[in-house]
């Protein structure tokens, strides 16, 4: 017995998501080749974060999950960001 009907993602939607991810992968490979110096790391990480967001939203169906679960996932990523920031504050100002 199920509580509610789950959202069904169509095959073509899945394929579209894959194509978007492949385009972003190509973009990041090309972007790194151009050597933006200090920005290279930032660019690669921003593209990776966009890809991660797409995987979470569509492949992992977060877009169609309830608000509580979405808030939990958002909260965990926020927590991780805070941990990273605090680590670097500690590292640079000790």
């Amino acid at each position: 017995m199920k509580n509610h009907e789950d959202h069904i993602t169509s095959y073509s939607q899945n394929l579209t998501v894959l194509l978007a991810l492949l385009i972003l992968t190509t973009t990041s490979v090309l972007a790194v080749k151009f050597h933006f110096g200090a920005f290279t790391v930032a660019i690669a990480l921003i593209i990776a974060s966009i890809k991660a967001g797409i995987v979470l939203t569509y492949f992992m169906h977060l877009k169609f999950e309830n608000l509580l679960l979405r808030l939990m996932v958002g909260g965990v990523f926020l927590l991780f960001t805070i941990v990273v920031v605090i680590t670097f504050i500690d590292y640079y100002f000790r």
Binding site: M1, D6, V29, V55, L56, F59, L68, F80, T87, Y91
Partner: protein, 203 residues
């Protein structure tokens, strides 16, 4: 309500939430290593630059594409079972498993090549490298190794899902295990999305 009906009750929302809680712990398992990487990279940026040149970006990119495609096939297998097409779902999970095998093969050749160059933790070649490069290769083996273990676990999990699809234990009404297996596989992909640029792409 009869007892059999009671025992068959599956709350997929809670079941999925439990899986997500587990995925959060996985995130912090790798997250810790990402933080070590970030701090060491800012401390030994020149050594990290040198060491990263040793990695084969082509194999890294190939494995990225392999994992992204496998992520799509496992997502499609969920679509298939929701549309009551168990055979298509089985086929798609089988393709996912093949792609997992391709990923591991690439990893085998990649690590094998490093080992033939005596670039492994504890080797004399490794010990003679500057401190930052030792850190880089240590993190490289730790992160890709831990990730590869996850690929193997994900493969085992998806094999169980495939068998249960065959016996009909997973069907259009009950596919929580397949959903959670797919979530795990997407997490494996998610981690690689960050490992690829950090280890292979940025030099």
């Amino acid at each position: 309500m009869s007892t059999t009906e009671h025992s068959e009750y599956i709350d997929s929302d809670t079941g999925k939430m439990g899986m997500w809680l587990f995925l959060f712990t996985e995130l912090f398992l790798f997250g810790g290593l990402f933080i070590v990487y970030a701090v060491m990279r800012s401390k030994y940026s020149e050594d990290f630059h040198q060491a990263a040149l040793e990695l084969n970006a082509f194999i890294g990119a190939t494995n990225t594409v392999v994992l992204l495609v496998s992520s799509m096939t496992v997502a499609m297998s969920l679509t298939a079972i929701q549309k009551n097409r168990p055979n298509i779902a089985i086929g798609l999970i089988f393709i996912t498993l093949i792609l997992a095998g391709v990923f591991m093969m690439n990893k085998y050749f990649e690590w094998g090549h490093k080992f033939s160059l005596h670039l492994y933790p504890g080797s004399d070649v490794m010990k003679s490298l500057p401190h930052g490069e030792i850190m880089f290769f240590g993190l490289y083996y730790m992160m890709t190794g831990l990730h590869a273990i996850h690929v193997i676990i994900g493969g085992v999990l998806l094999t169980i899902v495939m068998v249960r699809l065959k016996t009909g234990k997973i069907n259009q009404q009950h596919y929580l295990l397949q959903e959670n297996g797919a979530l795990y596989w997407h997490l494996v992909d998610l981690i690689w999305i960050f490992l690829f640029p950090l280890l292979y792409l940025i030099t």
